[in-house]
Amino acid sequence: MLFPTVEFILFFCVVMSFVWVLRPGVYSRNLILLAASYVFYGAWDLRFLALMGGVSLIAYGAGRMVGPTARYGAGIKKIVLVVSIAALLGTLGIFKYFNFFALSLQQLLEAANLSRDWQWLEILLPVGLSFYVFQAISYIVDVLRGDVDARRDPVDVFLYISFFPQLVAGPIVRASVFLPQIGQITVPDANMRARAVVLISTGLLKKMVIANYLSVLLVDPVFLLPEGQNALTAGIGLLGYAVQIYCDFSGYSDIAIGVALLLGFHFPANFRQPYRADSLRDFWQRWHISLSSWIRDYLYVPLGGSYGSTRRTAGILLLTMTLAGLWHGAGWNFILWGCLHGAALVAERVMRGIGVKPPQLIRIALVLGVVLLLWIPFRASSIGVTVEYLAAFGRWESYAPTALTPTVFALLVAGMALNWLPVSFGEKLGQGMATLPATLQAIVLSLICFALFAAAQEGVAPFIYFQF
């Protein structure tokens, strides 16, 4: 069940009615949201429910055993921590990476003339697995650290892992942010509703109009035939992809945050004008913030962070970013993308260390250039396609059929404008909307949705981050 569909609108109206019209107590509200989340996830494939239930059960059980008040020794707690995280990562590994590593092994053996008729299992990747596994890990670790109390009631943990607005593509909400909110009912006031209307509307605009049309009119044709492109069309295609992925993913996050607000939950922002970052470090503090901070707190810092020698820090950065690349997808192109981001971050640290600091505008342009260039392996289906795409930048003579039409140009400008608009603009829109009565707010939201559904193309394009 995707956000921009009739199914989801009907589903959400039913859930809102159960929560706000029937006025249940806190516990009943949590049970309703848990049931709704399982219906939402089961709509993809009923078999996925068992997996999500299993992940939640591991998090709940481990949380009960590793908390500061649990009656177990430090040794037992350490074993529980290691076993539970290994089980969670093992689940992720089997479902997400088995096919990739098996195929890579097969290719390696074939290259060494050890070819056989290999029979591999075709394993289906459950949507959102990477996201809720990371939430489960953060719950266990936060309980161990004493940042949150281990929950006695499994409903709390199961709802934290499965809450439908952020279930399939984030934001990855920390247990310390989410769990305190399920102990009370926060009725959305005028400001929360207004913010939700603005977020859902901009999210739908970004996804249904800008990202989807850019994908069909520009990005897909260019990346399908990179050998037919020249430098200009390759550059425009790349810019198109940068705008598409920003609008696609930040659009999803906006809708998720808005939907959660209408249910009385606050989620942290996941994007903050990423393409105006003036350093790569800054970029990662603006792009997919919930994942970047998760990787920083649960991987980079525990590995040693930036407290050791320069060489050690560089190694940790490279390793962390390579693993971040692998998290995004089971493919060498994603590993390359992560590794190159790591290398660029190391280079940036070195330059900062020796005092190289160009003017801010040049820094922004440089960072944008690097980020754009590194989107090539991310979007390309393989390393081979990446190389072909890069080769297009060396061609000036060949004719490419994809042109920069007025529609494509307008979409690029609109997408970039949404990235560059100051945060205060959205806040002002929200403040204006907050002055409207509740009924009028709902009518505005409905009219905008109606117009955006009409403007969108037929059919539903899945969100890019669903595959991760």
């Binding site: 009739v6 009518i443 409905s446 403007a455």
Partner: protein
């Protein structure tokens, strides 16, 4: 609590209004749903009856007209 209830109820009313002016799209959508045994036939019959009523009351496919207009502006 009163305001968010009004908000939720207005969303339902808006959804009904959208249905009234969106031609036969709901029927198409119901046909596209996975089969749920007898419930399917009952649902299709109900939506078909509602669609006929809509036509008798004079509601047109304004959604389709808006889509055509927006797509011509967008050039898609």
């Amino acid at each position: 609590m009163g305001e968010i209830r009004a908000f939720s109820i207005t969303l339902w009313v808006a959804l009904l209004a959208c249905y009234l002016i969106s031609g036969g799209r709901l029927l198409d959508w119901v046909f596209g749903m996975p089969d749920i045994a007898q419930f399917d036939d009952w649902l299709i019959a109900a939506v078909d009856w509602a669609d006929q009523l809509k036509i008798r009351l004079g509601f047109g496919d304004w959604f389709g007209a808006l889509r055509q207009w927006l797509h011509s502006i967008l050039g898609v």
